[in-house]
Symmetry: D2
Subunit: 351 residues, 4 copies
């Protein structure tokens, strides 16, 4: 195989991380997140959030972050509202329910929640016989590559406050969202518009790690207990601290995200020029083009990607993902191969 576009976690991490791990390897550090590198990365995140008060906790993965946060802030009879496409609903093996809570889902056109979509979930009766929604879970970028605008997030935030709902953003690919061409949100916006969010490193230049950021002061107390209880308080916090310290130095993480986005968007643009359509209008590093099955078969000889969904006859949507490390030349080659296949198909059709 020439190159795999299957996901954005096929490669390791940005070399700066490995260098600093090596340089500092034998310095003795306090355990469980009290090391100097974690403190350094907390400071960097607070600065980006323009808020020196936010709580920051570094944990190993997205499912872990989701289950810790959601179970920490729900009473047993309270639920979390998510898009049907939400990661917690589909791809976490029931992790949220395993902590005792219902995920209430909403069908969406684009993977995003809005006040209009959430309102019907709030209209419950009779009292005490139904779960009570308390957290709104959104992903940015979403599981299908779309992003929230500042206007959308502001409206959602206001709606949540009015309805006594907490707004929680899954940011496994938040760097890609913030680096998207049409994005108008900053990390500071997100820290103030959500109650809690996380900024993922695993999919954007790190080896492991999601930084949970608690903007809502009322949610901060004793949060570390939940991290410990769910098995996420790890002895060598330096591993997490060094990653964020390096990825946030000079905005490296967002540069890496921009690279990832650009590669996917270059592919998208070429496909569009060739007349192909897409399952979703993504602006980030995941795209879902709809291609002829014959072309898919050809491409899969050289490239890895996921066949997402059977569409109309002889067409399927595929998922193509690029990463911080995707080499430009493989993308060029992929585009060229698609163009060649398209031409060939047109020639065949015209015969």
């Amino acid at each position: 195989m020439l190159y795999s576009f299957t996901n954005d976690y096929s490669e390791g991490c940005h070399p700066n991380i490995l260098e600093r791990l090596a340089e500092t390897n034998l310095t003795q550090q306090a355990g469980y997140g009290n090391d100097q590198f974690t403190l350094e990365s907390v400071a960097a995140i607070r600065k980006l959030c323009q808020n020196p008060e936010v709580d920051v906790h570094l944990v190993a993965g997205g499912t872990l972050a989701n289950l810790i946060v959601i179970s920490a802030f729900l009473k047993s009879y309270e639920s979390v509202v998510a898009a049907e496409t939400g990661h917690i609903n589909n791809h976490e093996a029931g992790a949220i329910e395993a902590t005792g809570h219902k995920v209430e889902t909403v069908a969406t056109p684009d993977g995003k929640l809005s006040p209009e979509l959430i309102q019907p979930v709030l209209n419950k009766f009779p009292e005490y016989h139904t779960v009570k929604p308390r957290i709104v879970y959104i992903s940015n970028s979403t599981e299908i590559g779309t992003i929230y605008s500042k206007e959308e997030l502001t409206a959602l935030s206001a709606f949540c406050k009015q309805n006594n709902l907490l707004l929680f953003m899954d940011g496994a690919r938040l760097a890609m969202a913030l680096a998207a061409q049409n994005n108008d949100l900053t990390l500071a916006d997100i820290a103030s518009l959500t109650d809690i969010f996380y900024l993922g490193a695993t999919k954007c230049g790190g080896l492991i790690g999601e930084a949970i950021v608690i903007g809502n002061e009322a949610l901060r107390k004793n949060f570390k207990y939940y991290i410990k209880q769910r098995g996420a308080l790890l002895a060598k916090g330096r591993l997490f601290g060094i990653q964020y310290a390096e990825l946030l130095r000079d905005n490296l993480m967002f540069e890496l995200a921009r690279h990832a986005n650009e590669q996917a968007q270059r592919i998208a643009q070429s496909l569009q020029e060739l007349g192909y359509t897409f399952l979703t209008q993504s602006n980030t590093n995941q795209i879902f083009p709809i291609l002829p099955d014959s072309s898919i078969a050809e491409l899969s000889k050289k490239y890895g990607f996921f066949v997402w969904k059977k569409m109309q006859e002889e067409y399927s949507a595929i998922r193509v993902i690029t990463s911080w490390a995707t080499p430009q030349e493989y993308v060029d080659q992929f585009i060229q191969d698609i163009r060649d296949l398209s031409r060939k198909l047109k020639e065949e059709a015209s015969m």
Copy 2:
């Protein structure tokens, strides 16, 4: 501070790991534990276990391993039996109970369980009104530095089989147990005498990771679901795979453990020669000497360690831990400082 003996996770990891991470950084690997390095480390563990069938799963930490394993194999009304000193009973913030299960504890003289100690826990009445013990949880080395002999583990294993109990070994410091001078167990013994155990890397040369090994065939099916559901199935399995692949090459991990043990035992021997006693008879890298409070105060000016327990008047037990990375010269210095303090005390006493 000259050096901290507070724990065995203050330093980073063995340099071989960092080197291999760097070398292989940009090769594309499958996610979620299907990378070549994880396969390599699984093979290495199976070889050490002398059993090509055991299931191996790499997770981030000990609490995570404990809660995944215990909750996976208990019905809701079943309990896990542990020593009062067991990690799951004291230092996991209720992680096991949070998965719905009672930890039934037994007072022990040395942190170790035996058939005689467990038998009373099995005598329950009336039926259906009490929890039903199903897993026996032991740690090797224990939380207080002791280790199981082959005879002890064989007896415990037979007892568990007779009583329909699963035997689970917490091996966060298993390398230290196996590297102890008086140890007569092999990893193959442990794989065959327990139903499930884990071999920890975090405290023995790695940055992160515990390798869960399932010897009991009946427990293997679908185990990966539990790992995913608890948030422990991480995207970049290469981080875990490379650590075990390197630490198990040429028994590196056990060499590192031997080093850690030797440093602590050198301190222990010196203290013994000076007439000091110990809270527990440890053969591994954690020792609990009882020292005069005045000496403790002096030592704490140069060294880090944990004051464990107030003992008889003017004496306390401290916990001194050495690691795979503890430099011999600091241990020499520590021993010299204790000797000097001891001499001084004797001189004062004789005045």
Copy 3:
């Protein structure tokens, strides 16, 4: 108010129960379901099931029965599949999720599940990242008054066996289903076609109680532990035993259910004759006629019922429920009042 058709638990219980409670009040009985009356009712249920082996457990309510059964037979990563209208999905305040399990829902035309509707839920990917369906939950009669035919239940049962799914029937209103005019199932059919079901007394002549019947032998062992652990093993089992003993004597319960059904169906037939339509095609004691809002307003002056759903302009569906104790004369009066209102409306319309 003349009479409330709001639900079928407004009245007490059949007088035979109260009489036997009084007669046997001072005999000493063993506790926790080992009393003679419980034994008597277990025998009666086994006889009706034509199976002397089924396990029978009497618990206080439907939500309790649902959460005990479902949590007893699911591994933590397994889910229960239900119709969107299923009681466990809507009206149990997240009771199932509170035991750690996802309820996966399917939209249905009539509140009933079928192989065709369930199949898509089984097609999950990727392995280990999604919950695994294991129990199929159905209600008979359903929450909207419909019932399963023998052909439907047989097909569903076969499908479940083929797909390693357990079939669980919520029988809070099973007596009404079995007493419906178009029913062709017996309790013995249900005991053999499902793995587990319950037969409710609360809504059919009793004060309290649901009888859980375990047909699948593999599910019987140690079930009482679950009952105890969820707080459902009650000291004075006589209260439950006497109810079932009396309600099953000479098929009393099914006679009472037939009465309840007939009253609702008489109302339904009159409405149909008057040209009104229904939200669902119910054959049991719950009907959902669609009436003009003006008539609803008039009727609500004399009768209790639930306004279920706003329909097309100036029309709403209401829920009318009759019980084992609903007096024939109030039903006659209700029908008469509807006829009068209908005539009045037609007169007004023709003016």
Copy 4:
């Protein structure tokens, strides 16, 4: 068998309850605790508590009450502290742990907790690695028949407030405690000194039911959700309402408890006069005399009771329980039989 002293739930309920059930059987009542009888009993309980504000909820059993209350008020990392003899620790099949919480136990001389006994449980370290105690669970009367004095409860209440702990009293046999000769507490005292307690009917004249009383205002909001979610919100609340309404009319429940206590205490006094000792100093309806095994064998031919614990050679402690319905004449006979056996033994000994 002449009579069973095995427990206090062998008989049915006070006849007043059955009469009122019969009288009111066909009146239509609102469901789920909104019936007039429940309202009547809530008013009666508020009056006895001398507090018109307390929340009252009627549930079916003690384990259910315990698990609802404890899980409602604990965050996931918080624990409940109980005496080792506490019902939640021993005889609820892990019901509390099944809701996700650790029960931390304290050895006690008499089944009662005190500030001195609880203090050590509060001294935890390191922060975040251990569970955090939040509820103190006590039983009155205790599982071994002892009761709390006003002084003891006042001290415990003050200690809890100082330490941010909630005080929860299991009152499955609270009527017996309040009816004990040496009792100096009122229900109003208990309502003001605890945060939450329940007053049991099952063991004191009722068929089923425990009345949860929430004195602490901060704990009242939305409590009914927990009741529903745990399956304890039952359709025909009239069954519970009528029991409390009748049992609290003219203090009937406490009269019944006094009767139960007197019968046990008469037996106790006779045994004491004969020189026998007791396992615990009970003032209520459960006594634990230590008798010769030969006498126990003789007595068990005519009477039911529980052999509790093997004591010194040829002696065992038995548990004798009397109820609201225990006939005086059987107690007289039991006493006479013991006297006869004692005399016979003395005669044999003197031969």
